[in-house]
């Protein structure tokens, strides 16, 4: 249902759209990082680095829009939860932007890391891109089940990260001359893993926004019970 006051809806929509846009840009960055890595494309890496300013501006814009919304409309109930969640989510999105900028920086320094393990980054990127897609949808559709999937996918990402680290360690043990290269790749993977953690934060805020329940520090089992699903993992 719409607000009696049309400008209230416009302000909420604007906030919503900016967040949606930030999700898209972060996802684009992650995907382009993979491309830049594969193609040793420094120019593309620079584009990603430059895009950080856009994300920063959007973050500041969301904060300002939220402040204006509070001043003008004093949001309550579901609107209050939305505005609160938006200001939390935007911080995570901005951090994700920073992490993609870090990856792009590491790619610019790459020498022969792509020959080392081209698929490593690809698998991880695919999972993170998928997760970000779900996180955006969960937010835009206020969908707690999608939010749950974002959180669940983080397990797979963590497992993949651990396996990849192990593989890199083996490489380093076998070929000491590759240590610095492997370290850089390991660092890239770490940035991706942290992006996934931030995506989880956004999903938790979606659950708060929809259900009014704070789930940031509860166990997986409690979360699954709350969302009406059994925890069939672990």
């Amino acid at each position: 249902m719409q607000h009696t006051l049309r400008s209230f809806d416009i302000a909420l929509d604007e906030l919503n759209d900016r967040i949606g846009m930030m999700f898209k840009l972060v996802r684009k960055n992650v995907r382009q990082c993979q491309k830049a890595f594969e193609n040793r494309d420094s120019a593309l890496a620079k584009t990603i680095i430059d895009r950080d300013a856009v994300l920063n501006d959007l973050e500041v814009g969301v904060d300002e829009a939220a402040r204006q919304l509070i001043v003008h409309h004093q949001p309550a109930a579901s609107d209050l939860r939305f505005v609160f969640a938006a200001t939390k989510i935007v911080t995570d999105l901005e951090r994700m932007g920073d992490l993609t900028r870090n990856i792009a920086g590491l790619i610019q320094q790459q020498n022969n890391i792509e020959q080392l393990a081209p698929d490593v980054l690809k698998s991880m990127t695919e999972l993170v891109v998928e997760q970000l897609k779900m996180a955006r949808r969960a937010f835009m559709r206020r969908d707690t089940q999608l939010a749950r999937q974002v959180i669940e996918l983080d397990n797979s990402i963590d497992n993949l990260f651990i396996n990849d680290q192990r593989a890199l360690l083996t490489h380093m043990a076998e070929s000491p001359e590759l240590i610095s290269t492997c370290m850089r790749l390991s660092n890239i993977l770490k940035q991706l893993e942290r992006i996934a953690d931030h995506a989880v934060n956004t999903a938790e805020m979606v659950i708060y926004m929809v259900m009014g329940r704070e789930v940031r520090h509860i166990s997986r089992q409690e979360l699954m019970e709350l969302l009406g699903e059994d925890d069939d993992e672990d």
Binding site: M1, Q2, H3, T4, L5, F8, H73, Q74, P75, A76, A77, S78, D79, L80, R81, G212
Partner: protein, 256 residues
């Protein structure tokens, strides 16, 4: 609701008719002692009507008929032997527009206690007047002009004078029907600060159209719509996570 809180007012299946028209459709609600309970809802929802049931102000309307129970301190206030004048000393009321008597500030306070014999001599009355004005946070502003007319005070001061007048007959419940709607923000803030203090000693029920005010001053909020109690709960919960969609729609401004 906090089960540990003492229930001051029990309302059970309360129905009210104005002539043929049913204005309250069976309200059941417990109001805790020493707390502020806010009644919110759009015009015509029954919130003021319900408030007026709590000191039988509706008795004054000829076509009004009430069914159901209102128990205050476990006493049925609609029982045949209830003295309505006595009831209204226990359950005081403050109205939308300040309505001081056209008398001095002192007399505004002393008038009812004198009728009820609450002071046996002039000294006792002086003490009672001073105490009441102090409790209403008005003493410092008027102590040097007690003989001046109450109507000469500012709107906010007049409203606090009316609160002092209510307090003077030693009620334990104070009903407030939009007590700040005729006041500016500063006078409103003073009344709200006063409500915060008064709740230590009194049970307060406030009807307000300002949801921000309800959120600021009350511990419990009841949302009414078309004569029904839609939702009743802890104020923080009502304003962040109401259980009913209609409450959310109203609080967020999505009504009508």
């Amino acid at each position: 609701m906090d089960n540990k809180a003492t229930v001051k007012i029990r309302i059970r299946d309360l129905k009210l008719w104005y002539g043929e028209s049913e204005a309250l459709h069976g309200i059941t609600l417990d109001i805790s002692a020493n707390s502020v309970t806010a009644f919110i809802g759009p015009s015509g929802c029954g919130k003021s009507t319900l408030l007026r049931c709590l000191n039988r102000m509706n008795d004054r309307i000829a076509s009004c008929r009430v069914q159901g129970d209102v128990l205050i301190n476990d006493q049925d206030i609609y029982a045949a032997d209830v003295d309505v004048v006595q009831l209204r000393t226990h359950v005081g009321m403050v109205f939308q527009k300040p309505n001081p008597f056209p008398k001095s500030i002192y007399e505004n306070i002393a008038y009812a206690p004198r009728i009820h014999g609450l002071a046996s001599n002039a000294d006792e009355m002086d003490v009672l007047v001073e105490e009441s004005l102090k409790k209403a946070s008005l003493w410092d502003e008027v102590k040097d002009k007690l003989d001046q007319p109450g109507t000469a005070l500012s709107g906010g001061q007049q409203q606090r004078l009316c609160i002092a007048r209510t307090i003077a007959v030693r009620p334990d419940i104070i009903l407030m029907d939009e007590p700040c709607s005729a006041l500016d923000p500063i006078a409103t803030a003073k009344i709200e600060a006063l409500i915060e203090e008064l709740k230590q000693e009194y049970t307060i029920v406030i009807v307000t159209h300002s949801m921000q005010q309800a959120a600021r001053v009350s511990q419990q909020t009841a949302f009414f719509y078309l004569g029904d109690l839609i939702e009743y709960g802890e104020t923080g919960q009502i304003f962040t996570m109401p259980k009913e969609q209609r409450t959310d729609d109203y609080i967020t401004g999505r009504f009508g």
